[in-house]
């Protein structure tokens, strides 16, 4: 299976969006997802803190706003975007509930992807006495930017607590292939489309 830019979650995310819609990509990096979505007729803006990535995003011709996510999305209006994306970043955010609430304030819906700590290889690593390191969790314990460690079941339970509706879910294994059963065991990366009841 071939994937866009070796980011299989991008294919999933793009599949949930339509031309003409607007998207805010939080922690947009060098703007790869926005390039993909812009090419598909969406209008997008990224938020990125790291100067080198902001520069690369400008080079890539996407709209990028240099800002710190943890400082909040207060600058954006309610329902300003059709979609708000946080890909592979939720586990690095300290104020998890606040960012989820803010994403669903400024966007009609939100898309979130994150590494599933309950993936069987991660479980094996811990059983063998070591913290997991993989393509989806590429850091050592001492240099990881991740500050929150959670599983798909944990995330779904938090959504339930916060009254957030899960509208779609795609689960991928380490190779980017879709997982169809035993998601919390076989899934390495989870991608959720969430919203609020209208």
């Amino acid at each position: 299976m071939t994937h866009t830019l070796k980011r299989p979650d991008f294919d999933v995310i793009a599949g949930w969006m339509k031309a003409g819609e607007t998207v805010l990509d939080l922690g947009c990096g060098e703007g790869e997802l926005l390039q993909l979505l812009t090419a598909r007729g969406l209008r997008g803006w990224g938020v990125e803190r790291e100067p080198g990535r902001v520069l690369a995003a400008i080079e890539n011709g996407v709209n990028v706003i240099q800002s710190n996510l943890e400082a909040g999305l207060a600058d954006f209006e309610d329902n300003a975007f059709d979609h708000v994306v946080l890909s592979r970043t939720l586990q690095t955010v300290r104020h998890t509930q606040q960012i989820l609430a803010e994403m669903l304030r400024v966007g009609h819906e939100a898309v979130i992807s994150f590494p599933n700590f309950a993936y069987w290889k991660n479980r094996m690593a811990v059983l063998n006495g070591r913290m997991p390191v993989s393509d989806d969790l590429p850091y050592q314990w001492y240099d990881t930017p991740n500050v929150r460690f959670f599983t798909m079941l944990d995330f779904e339970s938090l959504c339930n607590e916060m009254g957030i509706v899960i509208r779609d879910r795609q689960v991928l294994d380490e190779h980017g292939n879709t997982v169809t059963e035993e998601h919390n065991f076989l899934g390495s990366l989870a991608v959720y489309r969430i919203g609020r009841d209208d």
Binding site: W45, L55, I58, E59
Partner: protein, 375 residues
């Protein structure tokens, strides 16, 4: 990127306009002139023209040098030239001295045809929209229907913003650097102290000092010293001057003792030696009046609703005159309109003046943005 070099020797031009123009203040200028310079070549499609708008003390000499005065280098020469971020191999760059200026464009020191005397105090207060209109006449004269980009820092950035509101179909990109959507009370207060320093100088003569063959250099010097403090950052001043004393400075007196005092006086003297006091008053007033949101019930997003340009907004972390938060107001208003905008917040210790500096990351951001502009 190709090797960077100077654009080399340049010449100033003058455009004489004989069609009268009525300014926002209600005064009509029957005939007027704009001084300008151009760098690079306008392409056949006339689609590669970039306008540089100057700030308070700037002018049309933006890049290169004069053959007969090689030390007189353009004020934004580090940005503009072959292989530089604003690459004159690709772009046709236009620098202009604003109406009311003192570098060759019609201003308070020019002769009022009605009296045969310098305009002096009678020269009308100009606002940023007046400048956009007069700059558009220069564009007409150069057969430029649409700017590939309008670029400016500080008061120049405000002009770039105003262009996108007043003449949206004539700007494809606006680079708004170290600017603000309107001045705060604190900013206006600084400007007024500067103006009071000039106006209360006995040599000012109500703005008609030309006929007395004197100049209010004392007031102008104080105005510049005050302004200069607000263009620097506390960090930078601490690092550059700290509490260092002048060699052989006296003590327990009021002479020049600390290095910062010496520096500011030098800057003030240098500026007062060549700048026109009336122009200084006009420029600060144009800053104070700048407020594109005001006609739209203070809604900046509404003011920018009709803009068609794409934007790059840049701010500097230690700029407290026009802080990053002020640039974010512009960005937020643009995003609210779903306009294309990128925003870079450059870490710099140079305060407001950072927009003039040759900072690697800052120039890389400008290069990246400008390279993507189609010509």
């Amino acid at each position: 990127m190709s090797e960077q070099s100077s654009i080399g020797p340049v010449k100033a031009h003058r455009l004489a306009l004989t069609e009268p123009i009525t300014l926002a203040a209600g005064v009509t200028l029957p005939a007027w002139e704009l001084a300008y310079e151009t760098y690079g070549t306008l392409n056949a499609a006339r689609s590669n023209a970039v306008l540089i708008c100057h700030a308070l003390s700037g002018h049309h000499h933006v890049a290169g040098y004069y053959a007969d005065d090689p030390k007189n280098i353009g004020w934004w020469d580090n940005l503009i030239g072959p292989g530089k971020p604003l690459d004159t191999n690709r772009f046709f760059v236009v620098g202009v001295n604003n109406l009311g200026g003192c570098h060759g464009s019609t201003g308070p020191a020019s002769i009022n045809p009605a009296t045969g005397e310098p305009w002096g105090a009678d020269f009308p207060v100009v606002i940023v929209s007046d400048w956009v209109r007069t700059q558009a006449r220069l564009a007409d004269a150069l057969s430029i229907e649409q700017w590939a980009a309008v670029v400016g820092g500080s008061l120049g950035g405000m002009q770039a913003l105003q262009w996108t509101i007043d003449l949206p179909e004539r700007v494809r990109h606006a680079l708004v650097i170290a600017a603000a959507p309107r001045l705060t009370a604190e900013n206006i207060a600084f400007n007024d102290v500067a103006r009071q320093a000039i106006i209360t100088d006995p040599e000012f003569h109500g703005g008609n000092f030309y006929r007395h063959h004197v100049r209010p250099t004392h007031g102008l010097r104080l105005a510049r010293m005050l302004g200069h403090i607000t263009y620097l950052s506390d960090d930078q001043m601490a690092e550059k001057f700290g509490r260092k004393r002048r060699p052989n400075a006296g003590s327990y007196g009021f002479g020049v003792e600390f290095e910062i005092e010496s520096y500011l006086r030098y800057q003030g003297d240098k500026f007062a030696g060549w700048f026109d006091a009336n122009t200084y008053l006009l420029m600060t007033k144009a800053l104070d009046y700048f407020d594109p949101a005001e006609p739209f019930a203070d809604d900046l997003a509404a003011a920018l609703a009709g803009a068609r340009a794409k934007f790059l907004v840049v701010a500097f972390t230690t700029d407290w005159r026009f802080s990053p938060a002020r640039s974010r107001e512009i960005v937020n208003a643009l995003v609210k309109n779903k306009h294309a905008v990128s925003y870079a917040e450059i870490a710099s210790q140079h305060g407001h003046d950072a927009f003039l500096m040759d900072d690697h990351y800052y120039h890389a951001v400008l290069t990246a943005y400008l390279q993507n502009i189609q010509t």
